[in-house]
Symmetry: C2
Subunit: 210 residues, 2 copies
DNA sequence: GCGCATACTAACTAACATGTTAGTTAACCG
DNA sequence: CGGTTAACTAACATGTTAGTTAGTATGCGC
C-alpha cells in the first residue's frame, strides 16, 4: 500500500474567519439562529467546531456578526440615492434595479431577515434596514401620484410591500422554484436572474402607472 | 392559605389530537422540521410531550400529517376553476382572489413550503401543489397575450412567479411587516388583509395589461 | 534551527433534544 | 358501584448539540 502523505492545509486566520462567517451566513439563512447547526458550519468552512468558538465566542455572537456584516453591506447599496431625480417611474425603476442587483450577491439577507422576524421577534436586528427600503419606495409612489403619473388609488405602504414581494420572492424561494427551471442548478445565475429582474420591473412599473 | 382545587381538564382524544396538529403546524411554520421543538408544541397544545408520541409516532410522522392536512385543504381551493371563463384579466383576478382569500386561513402553508424547499430539499412534499398554482396563472397569461390584452413581452413563467411573490409576501412576512402597521397586533386581520388583496390585484392586473 | 506565539485538533462535559415506559386517573358500560 | 379501557403523566433512557480544555503543530522572527 502506498504511503499517503497527509498535507495539512496552510494556516490563515483571516481566511478561516471568513470561511466560518460565510458558512454561518448560509446556515443561518437555512435554519435561523436556533435551528442552525455549528457542526454544519464547520463542515462547510472546512474546519472544526472548536474553531468557531476560538474565533467567535458563541453561536449567538457569530449570528450577531453575520447580521452586522450583511447589514453594513446592505447600507451601502442605495446610499445617496436621489428619489427625485428623473420621473417617478424612472426613479423607482432605477432604485429597484439597484436593490435587486445587490440581492443576487447579498442573497441570504432576505431569508435571514424573515427568520429574524418569525423566530426571534426581531430581537437582533434594527428595523432601520427595513425602513430604508420601504420609505424611498413609498416616497416615490407618493410623488408619482402627486404628479398624476401613477394611479391615484395606490396605497403607498401596501404597494411598496407588494412591490418588494415581487422583487424578493424569486431570490427567497430559489430552492422551491428550481424544479421549474429544469436543468438549471442555480436559478440565481446571471442570465436567468436578469430575466427575473426585467420581468419584475415591467410588472411593477406598468402596474403603478396610470 | 386557601386550598386550591386543581380541576383536571376534560379528556378528549380528538380535541387533543387537533390541538397538537395545530400547534405543530405553527411550530413547523416557525422553524421547519428540524428546528421545531416538540416541547413548544406540547405547551401550545396544553399537553405533555408524551402525548405527541402517544398519538403521532414521531416528530417526522407528525410533520407528514401536518403537510397532508394542509395540502388536502389547499387542493380543494381552486378545484374546478375555469381559466377560460371571462376575459383573461377577469379570470386571473378571480383566481388570485380565491388563492389569497384562502391564504388568510391557510396562513402557514407558504412558510412551511418555503422551509420544505430550503431545509429538506422538498423531500416530504409533492411539487404538484406548486404546479397547481403556477400552471393556471401561466395559462391565463398566455391566453391574455394571445388575445392581445396582456403585454406581449410577458414571460409567463417569470411573471407568474413575480405575481405569486406579490400575493404571498405579505402573509409570509407578517412578523417583519407588523411594526409598519403600529398598533395592529395581527396584520392578517380581515380589514387590513382586504386592503392588501385589492392593492396586490390592482398592481398585478394593471401590470400585465397592455 | 530554536523558541515562541498562535492556528488548530481531539476528546471531553454539560445541557438539551427526542423518544420510551411504567404507572395513574378519568370516563364509560355493565 | 366495580371493572375495564383509554387518556394522560412523570420519570427515565438515549441521542444530539453547544461549548470547553488540554495539548499539538505550524509558521515566523531571530
Amino acid at each position: 500500500m502506498a504511503k499517503t502523505k497527509i498535507v495539512s492545509k496552510q494556516r490563515d486566520a483571516e481566511l478561516t474567519k471568513k470561511l466560518i462567517l460565510d458558512a454561518a451566513e448560509s446556515e443561518f439563512a437555512r435554519r435561523g439562529l436556533l435551528g442552525a447547526r455549528t457542526e454544519d458550519m464547520a463542515i462547510a468552512a472546512d474546519c472544526t467546531r472548536a474553531m468557531i468558538h476560538y474565533y467567535f465566542d458563541s453561536k449567538e455572537t457569530l449570528y450577531r456578526l453575520v447580521l452586522e456584516r450583511m447589514l453594513s453591506e446592505q447600507a451601502k447599496v442605495a446610499q445617496g440615492f436621489d428619489i427625485n431625480q428623473g420621473t417617478p417611474a424612472e426613479a423607482l425603476e432605477r432604485f429597484l434595479r439597484i436593490v435587486m442587483t445587490d440581492l443576487r450577491e447579498n442573497r441570504n439577507l432576505p431569508l435571514i431577515m424573515l427568520f429574524e422576524g418569525i423566530q426571534n421577534e426581531g430581537k437582533f436586528y434594527k428595523q432601520i434596514v427595513i425602513a430604508a427600503i420601504y420609505e424611498p419606495i413609498q416616497a416615490m409612489l407618493e410623488r408619482g401620484k402627486k404628479e398624476g403619473v401613477f394611479r391615484s388609488d395606490i396605497n403607498s405602504l401596501h404597494t411598496a410591500i407588494n412591490i418588494m414581494g415581487a422583487c424578493l420572492f424569486y431570490t427567497m424561494s430559489r430552492n422551491n422554484l428550481a424544479h421549474m427551471f429544469e436543468g438549471t442548478p442555480d436559478i440565481l445565475n446571471k442570465e436567468l436572474y436578469d430575466v427575473h429582474m426585467e420581468q419584475a420591473l415591467q410588472l411593477i412599473i406598468t402596474g403603478v402607472k396610470n
